[in-house]
Symmetry: C2
Subunit: 342 residues, 2 copies
Amino acid sequence: MQLDERKYRILQAIIDDYIMTAMPVGSRTISRKAGFSFSPATIRNEMSDLEELGYLDQPHTSAGRVPSNKAYRLYVDHLMKAAKLSPDERERIHDHLIDKSKRVEGVIRSAADVLSDTTKYTSVIVAPKLGTLRIKHVQLVPVADRTALMIIVTSAGIVKDAVIRVPEGLDADDLYSISRMLTQKLADKPLEAVRQAFSEMLRNAEQSRRLLGETLSVIEKKLETGGDASDVVIGGSSNLLEYPEYSDVNKARNFLAVLESKDTLRQLVSRDGGMEITIRIGPENGRPELNDCSIVTASYRVGDHSNGTLGIIGPTRMNYNRVISVLDFMGRALSDVLSEYR
Amino acid sequence: MQLDERKYRILQAIIDDYIMTAMPVGSRTISRKAGFSFSPATIRNEMSDLEELGYLDQPHTSAGRVPSNKAYRLYVDHLMKAAKLSPDERERIHDHLIDKSKRVEGVIRSAADVLSDTTKYTSVIVAPKLGTLRIKHVQLVPVADRTALMIIVTSAGIVKDAVIRVPEGLDADDLYSISRMLTQKLADKPLEAVRQAFSEMLRNAEQSRRLLGETLSVIEKKLETGGDASDVVIGGSSNLLEYPEYSDVNKARNFLAVLESKDTLRQLVSRDGGMEITIRIGPENGRPELNDCSIVTASYRVGDHSNGTLGIIGPTRMNYNRVISVLDFMGRALSDVLSEYR
DNA sequence: TGTTAGCACTCAACATCAACGAGTGCTAAC
DNA sequence: GTTAGCACTCGTTGATGTTGAGTGCTAACA
């Protein structure tokens, strides 16, 4: 059995309806829709075929049909027609993003909020991986005896810091000049060159070996690892509770528990390849506790090399159309705004 | 009618039972308890009195009684006997807090997690107000043409930053020396003295008036305002859903919405006075959407002057006893750990 | 005077049952 | 190939009865 034109149209109508109402769709509902001149009986035959093909599920015999994950997959791959955002909405989004006084973290925070506001789903934004960035500035600040705060400013304007121990007897001025030296040696170099520069320094400066060693290891750690919790920003965590599929408190709790683990979350929205938009429907996202969630992600660039991810988590019955348009637009907007910081 | 010894004991037993079970408590349940040699009928008479006095509510005629907010108030003020944490628990909490490589923000993050883990409620920690801190270091870092990142390190090791515009023609070295000058002038002074130092500088340095003006206003803003979202840290936001009083999705959503607004949250847990522990039961917290929540807060110190708040939000039927012990201990532990950074 | 047994009463919770209706699958006619 | 007709399924809704935990009151008891 093959999917002909009419089956496509019926399937599409069912998905559209189900996305709106969250109620199983019956044959009468479809036949009444504009553009269908067939009787419910005919629709029923087609629906029966679609069920056999795995595109529809029936919760029970006397209920209407519900789209399967396979149907959503087909929908996002072939049936969906791209929706454009209205100029109003575009403007609204832009307005929320371009506050010059906000730092990168602030922009990302706002972006997450706007994203969840406009889609009514839960949004997640992951900051760009530091490994792909360049160091702009390194600064050691004394905070206590033999303790200093190391601050790293990257080309994207992202600030990272860590506490390090310093040898006894170094005062603020010493740290000042060490910072200056470090900045000069390390600025605008990729991580590989940074490591190189360090081994050079280690050869020449016997006495400050410990300090340099620790500094390098901190820089490596900060720049190489996946990042810490602050790199993952969530917006609208309570939005999912608006949808009937999460009116069960247990499901809701499960979902919120996932949101609390930033590591899981980062993993979930991290992208496969260079595709514009990635859509994971239901079990495709790989986590059983999010079986009935879909995750849609897009990416944004900061400068030329490094990019972060922004995504939406919602029920599989998601308004993919709208979500994709919003994500697509937001991805570009974010890239624009953040690249100005360079 | 007065509360005699027996009424106290019965009320206490009812509260204890209700905190455990969340079910209305009947007279039989109480009379069976160890230490009560009275028949259910006697208990019933007493309960009837307690109800008349406003300490008990009856959901409906044929149900047991539940403690009123007034009863909880009496409980926490007079009936409760302080529980001590086991050495095991103390150790566990301490272990989670003292990771030397974590900065203040990191410690607070861990503290929130430990707090919600040990109490099974939702925890909120507010970082100390910056206004009470001293500046340790100021650093301007070039990020783009005519734009610099200003980084302020305070005595508590808290880092704040903001983007500021700088006059054309200032290169990294210029910013370097300005930073150095600023740090020298401002370090270890309270805000009032900082303002003084600035007006002095403004008089002497005509040409850099704009830069200094902007710098001061940023410092003032960062140090004086209530703080931004990053100063409020939440742990275990999904914990409240474990409790039957929040099995209604609408209530749950309301609660989560409050958690999303950091401003509201900061206001909620901010302390009245210098009391060790503050307890707000039900409507006492002033927000109608949290009418059936209690908020218990304690404070912690960073150094001598500035202090932050840590708190627990849970159902009014809260294990006050345990929550108070944990908060009390955590407050001290946090103060200890954070004061080492000075 | 305080305590207790006894008893009628209340009311949420639960189970049972019938009616309803949205929706299906099948068949026969168009 | 399409459709009207019809029997059938099954979740939903509402009415009804039963159960049991718990109460309030009264009268008897120590």
